[in-house]
């Protein structure tokens, strides 16, 4: 049986459930995060306890995955151009679980250029988005052209159950991509308000002419139907 490998960028509220579930499923992980655990993290980053305060998040999360029988290596670093190759070199899928728009674009751009599958996960207040990326389909930069903060994001919040739910969906999506299941490749799953419904709006989007990421890795003309695929 082939061992699957994933790189998780961000060891916070999204990275926690992603790492724990993929690690328990036998996926070998690289977990990257430059940050340390703070008291204000604990209510939604439930992989950490008070014992972890001021410790590196990536190391704490990798330790938890390992303690549960999984395999994980931590890297106390952001995802940057200088580190991307080393962090993602062996990954079957790269998962962005950061809260930083620029990092999301950087992960997606690298994955497109490297021909890798990737998942971009985001959570805000009571909802979130999960995008499944793969070679040959419209990319994250086709969808949202550049890393500018969305309206009111700076003042919005993150709720613990939201990141748990979105992280679970991101992990399942990543596992499917890593196993070669492309059913959701190129789709964006939009969870508007988990208090009201857990059903996502699933949309596929058109490749954007002139997308600088896709110019380096041309899009297949037949791989991006502009239609919805209702799932779940």
């Amino acid at each position: 049986m082939t061992t699957l490998r994933a790189t998780i960028v961000g060891a916070g509220g999204l990275g926690g459930p992603i790492a724990c579930s993929l690690g328990a499923a036998g996926v070998e992980l690289v977990i990257a995060d430059h940050d340390r655990v703070e008291l204000s993290n604990l209510h939604r980053q439930i992989q950490f306890t008070a014992v972890d305060l001021d410790q590196p998040k990536a190391a704490c999360l990798a330790g938890l995955v390992t303690a549960r029988g999984g395999t994980a290596r931590s890297v106390a670093s952001r995802w940057e151009a200088e580190t991307a190759g080393e962090l993602g070199a062996d990954a079957d899928v790269v998962i962005d679980a950061s809260d930083d728009p620029a990092t999301k674009f950087a992960v997606a751009d690298w994955a497109v250029a490297s021909g890798r599958c990737y998942v971009i996960a985001a959570a805000l207040r009571y909802g979130g988005n999960v995008m499944a990326g793969a070679p040959g389909v419209a990319c994250y930069r086709c969808l949202f052209e550049e890393p500018i903060d969305a309206p009111t994001c700076a003042d919005a919040g993150v709720l613990g159950p939201t990141v748990g739910a979105i992280g679970g969906v991101a992990a399942a999506t990543a596992l499917a991509l890593a196993r070669g299941d492309r059913a959701l490749a190129g789709a964006l799953l939009v969870f508007d308000d988990l208090r009201r419904t857990a059903d996502p709006r699933v949309v596929r989007f058109a490749p954007r002419p002139g997308c600088p990421a896709c110019v380096r890795a041309p899009i297949s003309p037949v791989a991006t139907p502009i239609r919805v695929a209702e799932v779940c």
């Binding site: 985001a122 207040r125 969808l143 500018i148 964006l188 308000d193 239609r227």
Partner: protein, 107 residues
């Protein structure tokens, strides 16, 4: 009558309403009607005559970027969805445990 699904990030403009029905035959007209009823919301979606780069608009399942853009026709029962890019943010002010965590933090 077509309806606009308003993302949570913009519901402060609509008094919390997640869906707004509009009498309109194109996406452009629909957004104008939305802004007439909820002033200021269009400026969060449009930059002059284009959709902002971190927002996508879908009519039903279809991205208007693959249709006729803001001139895309709307049918009586069409549902227009505004989908912004999101990343993460501060703790929710009404979230349990979130009141004492003012710093931007990893999602």
């Amino acid at each position: 009558m077509p309806s606009i699904q308003v993302p949570s990030a913009l519901r402060s403009f609509t008094g919390g309403a997640s869906s707004v029905e509009v009498a309109a035959t194109t996406v452009r007209d629909a957004l104008a009607e939305l802004d007439r009823r909820h002033p200021g919301i269009a400026a969060k979606i449009l930059d002059r005559d284009a959709v902002k780069p971190f927002i996508r608009i879908f009519v039903g399942p279809e991205d208007i970027g693959g249709l006729a853009g803001l001139d895309t026709k709307l049918a009586e029962r069409d549902e227009l969805a505004i989908i912004p890019a999101i990343a993460g943010g501060r703790d929710a002010p009404d979230a349990p445990g979130g009141r004492t965590a003012p710093e931007v933090d990893r999602a």
